[in-house]
């Protein structure tokens, strides 16, 4: 991006060449720097405090009470750690965490493999790759809720395109391809849709990683007569690893919080087979209106993600330093 006024650039070059590299606090006219700093930062921080931090603290407070949002006039008592005890001892909640873990694990694995493969292929720079990259990106632009709703249509055993296509290719009768009704298939139904949506995202990050590897490293390897296979495993993968791990982190956090798509695709069913943690939380909070207990669950979830993410980021930083 070029500056609109080139005389400033000339002067900047002069000034930069002459001046010592010490930050200059110029107080010509107008507000002091300090005032500007606060003026600029304050609105964002205030908004965050009001709408992110304060509610979080309120949720912590609620988690120690028996408050129910649908009975605002009832007496509110503190119940100590009872909500946390109930949450951590509830088999249904552990089941939901397990379901979430299963979902996160498989989606990340598939998206990583397919996403990296795609990025690698796109990095071969075939003709028209920019155009096709844009096409591949489209699924991630959609609203997960609307996607979940629409894939329900595609998964219908009698009238859906998915069952028909699978039946066409494999010969299995469509009445047996009950992606949403069958207890063993339903978890795969949500994994497939999430992979369809988010593989492009992982692909982009891997692509950035691949593009960050300078050519000269490959050329040096060529000189050393390293085979393409060896180059892939000792150059490409290790140097792209930080990016892959980053993609895993982002997708992992997002899928841990997953709510929209699964709610509209399966509603958590059949039974509770696809009931991920956020759906259980929503039922507790907005259908059972057990506000105190659901706040406890929310805090537990937050601490879990925060803790895991922290550990992961430390590992990531170590990888980057290699």
């Amino acid at each position: 991006m070029t500056l609109s006024n080139s005389s400033i650039v000339d002067k900047a070059a002069e000034a930069a060449a002459k001046a010592t590299p010490v930050p200059i606090a110029i107080r010509v006219r107008g507000l002091s720097d300090r005032a500007i700093a606060w003026l600029f930062i304050a609105p964002a921080i205030t908004l965050l405090l009001a709408i992110n931090i304060f509610p979080l603290l309120w949720a912590v407070y609620l988690s120690f009470t028996n408050f129910r949002a649908n009975r605002p006039n009832a007496v509110v008592e503190g119940v100590g750690f009872r909500n946390y005890q109930r949450v951590l001892n509830d088999p249904d909640i552990w089941q939901a965490m397990q379901t979430t873990a299963h979902f996160v694990f498989w989606t990340i694995l598939l998206q990583m493999l397919i996403g990296f493969a795609l990025a690698y292929l796109i990095d071969r720079k075939f003709r028209g790759h920019a155009f096709w990259t844009t096409i591949v990106l489209i699924p991630m632009m959609l609203s997960p809720a609307v996607v979940g709703n629409f894939w329900r249509f595609l998964y219908e055993p009698q009238i859906g395109l998915f069952a028909y296509a699978v039946s066409f290719l494999s010969g299995i009768p469509t009445s047996q391809i009950q992606m949403l009704g069958n207890v063993s298939l339903a978890p795969w139904a949500i994994i497939i849709v999430d992979t369809w949506m988010w593989t492009p995202y992982v692909m982009l990050i891997c692509l950035a990683g691949l593009r960050s590897i300078p050519d000269y490293i490959y050329e040096a390897a060529e000189v050393d007569r390293a085979s393409a296979w060896r180059q892939f495993w000792s150059i490409t993968v290790p140097m792209a690893l930080p990016f892959i791990m980053l993609a895993v982190l982002f997708r992992g956090i997002e899928n841990f919080k997953m709510f929209d798509m699964v709610t509209l695709l399966t509603g958590g069913g059949p039974g509770s087979v696809t009931e991920v943690a956020s759906i259980t939380l929503k039922r507790e909070a907005f259908e059972t209106w057990a506000t105190g207990r659901s706040s406890a669950f929310a805090i537990v979830l937050f601490v879990a993600v925060f803790g895991l993410a922290n550990i992961y980021v430390k590992a990531l930083n170590r990888v980057k330093q290699r």
């Binding site: 009445s175 009950q178 069913g269």
Partner: protein, 441 residues
């Protein structure tokens, strides 16, 4: 660049500010909230009369059944002003009365001469009263509804099928009077080719997300002897919710689901059940009575091809109550006009027209009129069904009670986890916890 930025800035600021301003309220307009279904469309038609008489415009907010409770309970709990009138589900009465969502109507009824005796007693208890069986009214009975069944009369009348059925089971193929008979019919039709198409036995409620499977399974459980609590000691549920009879009933519902339903029926509620019947997939379907007028008018399966029967009996004879009453939302700014609507709706001539258009009136004068049973082919089945109704908990903590049953029952019947006894034992535990939280035990 700068000009565009400035223009964009201005436009977005203007939009944001306009969003913040409260909208100018219409001159005379009421918003009525209900579920999006055939009777709602009939009500739109009917309300034109109200607008003509009072010059008050009616605006409607209809939400599909699957999100109906979610959305409107949320709305009431957030003290929203969206709805002036609400036709809330019968089970919301407890919560809405105790939490101040509805306006108490006793004074209004007395003033306008609206007598609850003029309405079918079961509907008054079910849709208006809280606490139950006390003269405290929070709604006017608006839509009578109950779970019943439809069947393909044309298939039942096929001579070859009748012959085969009688040989196999020893009685004449007709609308079943007991659940054992129903199951036999369902088995008979399961995977049979009729008119060149493979068909299935029955469509029953299995929906997980809102209230579907509960509304289905209670019909069977009531018949097998399930009770909500000890009639002599309220809230004592051990041995009544999970009695051996109740366990047998739940097992029966699962066996019906496993043997005789179409593939892909793991999340069926009213529209899916009606769809299954309309597309010619099933010989019988369980559904609320409100679907009957629409099905009777259907080109493919209506007219002579359809028959209706009330919920069959077993050891006892009950049917799950549906239906709603119309209430005034206490957060509305237009309570005066809303009450006018209720007054208009309670008029006998309006109630008669309501039945004509496809709504199920609860007024005695309408349902006890001499020509009523013959007025529509489904009228008799409706009358018979309304005589045997039983309702789910209408307690203020209705939502967690329902959620617990949805979870336990769906887990067992559809996902096949555990046994029926475990499901019902777990249900007693869940319900006990809820009532303890509530201070009822």
């Amino acid at each position: 660049m700068r000009k565009i930025t400035k223009a964009l800035l201005g436009a977005t600021t203007a939009l944001t500010i306009s969003a913040a301003l409260p909208s100018v309220s219409q001159a005379e307009q009421l918003t009525l909230c209900w579920a999006a279904w055939d009777p709602a469309n009939a009500l739109v038609e009917l309300s034109k009369d109200f607008t003509a008489k009072t010059k008050i415009d009616m605006k409607f907010e209809f939400v599909p059944w699957t999100s109906y409770a979610d959305r409107f309970l949320n709305e009431l709990n957030s003290h929203g002003k969206l709805c002036d009138l609400i036709i809330g589900d019968s089970q919301w009465i407890g919560g809405s009365a105790e939490n101040g969502h509805y306006v108490k109507l006793n004074e209004f009824f007395d003033k306008e001469g609206i007598k609850m005796d003029d309405f079918v007693p079961a509907t008054v208890v079910g849709y208006s009263e809280w606490p139950k069986n006390t003269p405290n009214y929070w709604a006017l009975p608006a839509m009578g509804d109950v779970v019943g069944w439809t069947y393909r009369k044309d298939w039942f009348e096929k001579p070859e099928l009748q012959k085969e059925f009688e040989e196999k089971y020893g009685w004449k193929l007709d609308a079943p009077k007991t659940y054992d008979q129903l199951k036999q019919i369902a088995e008979f039709f399961q995977n049979r080719k009729v008119d060149g198409q493979t068909v299935y036995g029955a469509s029953i409620y299995t929906e997980r997300g809102s209230e579907g499977i509960t509304m289905g399974v209670t019909n069977v459980l009531y018949d097998w002897g399930f009770q909500y609590d000890n009639p002599k000691k309220p809230y004592e549920m051990e041995g009544f919710v999970n009695s051996p009879d109740a366990v047998a009933g739940l097992e029966f519902y699962k066996s019906l689901y496993d043997c005789c339903t179409p593939p892909g029926s793991s999340n069926v509620y009213m529209t899916e059940s009606a769809d299954a019947f309309k597309s010619g997939q099933v010989a019988m379907q369980m559904n609320f009575a409100f679907t009957w007028p629409g099905l009777y008018k259907d080109e493919k399966v209506g007219g002579d091809r359809i028959g209706f029967f009330p919920n069959p009996a077993e050891k006892a004879h009950f049917a799950q109550l549906g239906g709603q009453g119309i209430s005034v939302v206490s957060y509305s700014d237009k309570q005066e006009q809303a009450l006018q609507y209720i007054k208009w709706f309670a008029q006998p001539d309006v109630q008669a027209k309501w039945w004509e258009l496809g709504g199920y009136s609860c007024l005695n004068a309408v349902v006890n009129a001499p020509g009523f049973a013959a007025s529509q082919p489904y009228a008799q089945a409706f009358l018979d069904s309304m005589a045997i109704v039983k309702d789910f908990w209408a307690e203020p903590s209705y939502a967690p009670l329902l959620q617990a049953m949805q979870k336990r029952v769906h887990n067992y019947v559809i996902a096949g986890n555990g046994t029926a006894k475990e499901a019902l034992d777990g249900l007693v535990k869940d319900w006990t916890e809820t009532f303890q939280d509530d201070g009822k035990i």
